[in-house]
Symmetry: C2
Subunit: 411 residues, 2 copies
């Protein structure tokens, strides 16, 4: 391509760097690698037969509608399903509070498009979801980073950052990706109150809410936001934008998720989505509605929880057995990930290189921080590997860690 021009766009997109994780995933797609790197659901639990039946029903009964252009907001019965399901969790909304998106990644992209101008700041957790940074880097976002501990986002120091007026704050309350921690109920309440006080909206990303294997359900932040649960046209007009997805409770390959927000925010996001992809595949929306309409997703979530919960327990037990004593990790109550902290001075990137030699892969923690930090941390996924792979992979990783720590005199 013409060179002067190529240079121009290279400058323009320099921040849109390819995802580190996806590069690692490419490396680890060799079949003999045991990978704890991705965030893949287990294909063993995909309800393939239910998809087949639903495709047949939708195309037989409503084929013309399923293949024609549709409205940007999403398939009304599916949005109504979201309304009904949300009410179980105490989220009091109506259909105009719901937007269907092409995966949660698109929800994050649309939030960037609506809310971020170059140089604007977003308050994120450190570490945070890499896909959010990718989405918002493209809009020229800068970040304030607030640390996590075992109870989630740390409250100390939060007011000071909120006073800097970030455009919004981004929180993953349940079974954090990558950190594996869950935000306590007390902190959820405090965060919602502080966000109101400082007039900073909260984006609550909850892909794993239904995947709890132990402990007690904690209501989402949006439920703690009781400043404005009105009726009718203003049913929900609070300060929290909530997003969740069908990727973890059904299948990720279909790219289907939803956003719950005040109606004025939904309207802006709908406008942004019109110019972005017009609408999400109406065929897919109708198929997923057909699968989910009779309560299948609740029954299916139980199956998934049983499978993943067992894998989590197995991985935690294997780590206990094989990891050096001065390595620590989170004990997630759900989700797909846990987070490992190595002694200060040990670089997880070096550990990865040694692990790849032994045919085990994971993701180093540093890319999950917007600017710096986390060099001695790493993320492990426990949902995608088989029992045998988990046991063998953690054993090998333990050997690598013992060796690396010995070399850096940390054992």
């Amino acid at each position: 391509m013409a060179t002067a021009w190529a240079h121009r766009y290279a400058q323009r997109t320099k921040r849109m760097s390819s995802s580190v994780i996806r590069e690692i995933l490419k490396l680890t797609q060799q079949p003999d690698i045991i990978s704890f790197a991705g965030g893949l659901p287990s294909p063993d639990v995909f309800p393939i037969e239910e998809f087949k039946q639903a495709c047949d029903v939708v195309l037989s009964e409503q084929g013309k509608q399923a293949l024609q252009y549709s409205i940007t907001e999403g398939y009304p019965p599916l949005r109504e399903w979201v309304v009904q399901r949300s009410s179980r969790y105490g989220i009091n909304i109506d259909i105009d509070n719901v937007l269907i998106t092409s995966g949660s990644q698109q929800a994050l992209d649309l939030l960037g498009k609506v809310f971020i101008d170059p140089g604007d700041h977003v308050l994120v957790e450190g570490p945070t979801f890499l896909g959010a940074l990718q989405a918002w880097n493209a809009y020229g976002a800068e970040y304030f980073t607030q640390p996590l501990d075992d109870d989630g986002l740390v409250i100390e120091g939060l007011e000071k950052v909120l006073a800097e007026k970030p455009n919004f704050m981004y929180v993953l309350p349940n079974f954090h990706n990558p950190a594996g921690v869950t935000l306590s109920g007390e902190r959820r309440k405090q965060i919602v109150e502080l966000a109101h006080q400082y007039d900073v909206p909260i984006v609550e990303d909850d892909p794993y809410g239904q995947l709890r294997y132990s402990g007690e359900h904690i209501p989402p932040l949006v439920v703690y936001d009781d400043q404005c649960h009105g009726e009718g046209n203003e049913k929900y007009c609070g300060n929290v934008i909530y997003t969740s997805t069908f990727s973890k409770i059904l299948a990720p390959g279909i790219r289907l998720a939803w956003v719950i927000a005040p109606k004025d925010v939904i309207r802006k996001m709908v406008q942004a989505k019109q110019g972005t992809d017009l609408h999400t595949s109406i065929f897919t929306q109708m198929v997923v509605y057909e699968i989910g309409r009779d309560g299948f997703l609740d029954r299916h979530a139980k199956t998934i929880r049983a499978v993943y919960g067992e894998r989590r327990d197995l991985m935690l037990a294997a780590m206990e057995e094989h990891f050096p004593p001065n390595v620590t990790w989170t004990k997630p109550e759900g989700g797909l990930f846990l987070w490992v902290r190595l002694p200060e001075g040990v670089n997880a990137q070096d550990v990865l290189e040694a692990a790849i030699e032994k045919k085990v892969a994971f993701v180093p923690g540093a890319p999950f921080f917007p600017y710096q930090g986390g060099e001695n941390t790493l993320r492990l996924n426990f949902s995608n590997a088989s029992h045998e792979q988990i046991v063998e992979g953690i054993k090998r990783l333990g050997e690598v860690l013992h060796q690396e720590l010995a070399e850096t005199s940390k054992v």
Copy 2:
């Protein structure tokens, strides 16, 4: 939502106004309205049985792959299908020149994300595709507008605008939406040469290329770009970014399209797409590949051409019979639209209001211009209405036009 914040985002998104067309479509969804307003394909030609079979085959044979996360670039066999199909039209590429997108609208959005910073200029035709303006307004684009005549984009004056260095130029060569005109071969050659001379990339949007009902095929601009058809890694590295879609030759509701571009551009668009929606539904991609792999789309295009060609002829004949003599219109050789020019001083918006009274709808031409112009023009769609609706609707519209022109003393 918190008011100070609501004001802030209202400012930020003021250009992201809702599509005029979609607002009109809402008005015209009353069942007794004859609508020439939308750009909907006819659902009568959707291959519903083929979709059913393909869903069954894909889920039965590759269900786990079809429901799992996939790569951003798109399903490799579908991209290979694009490569093979393109070679028939003289486009010499390989798989790394192809990106699958969630409809052409996403291709336009990704181009905006990669190439446009606020205040940058894009060279568009006047009139141009409204969806492109929507996509690029969100990135703060400004526009240079170059007029169309019956042979497409006017060459006179083009050099002067190219010398202003727009980030790219946007051209719809075949059966233009909304104008219905086709860019001549001679002009395609000239435009490609001028674009090279001024180092301005061309975005060639070709959703209707296969829908020609009369006249001779003209090669796409990308074929005239012979500066750089190399081999291997640099198979295509020219100056044209080409996009087309499955929406018009298969079904729009599934949101599936593709981009052909030099590999460095594809790489940037892949990075942008990662942060935008990770990937397009792999299930949908596999289903469409299954439908298209044996040549079905060529056979199906013949069916569509027969149906739409007849509707075009019927509409043109009815206009000839019923429209006032000082109203003119384009005679499209394909596509879905024709463009009507009323006498100067007649406002198509007023005509629309009178037409809605008579239960006929169309889209006024002004919104298809980025800043101003086209007040006395309008767009008619001929693909979606039945024969009876076309005859009756054009008759009523003729009555409205006679009356409106008489009132403004233009008859």
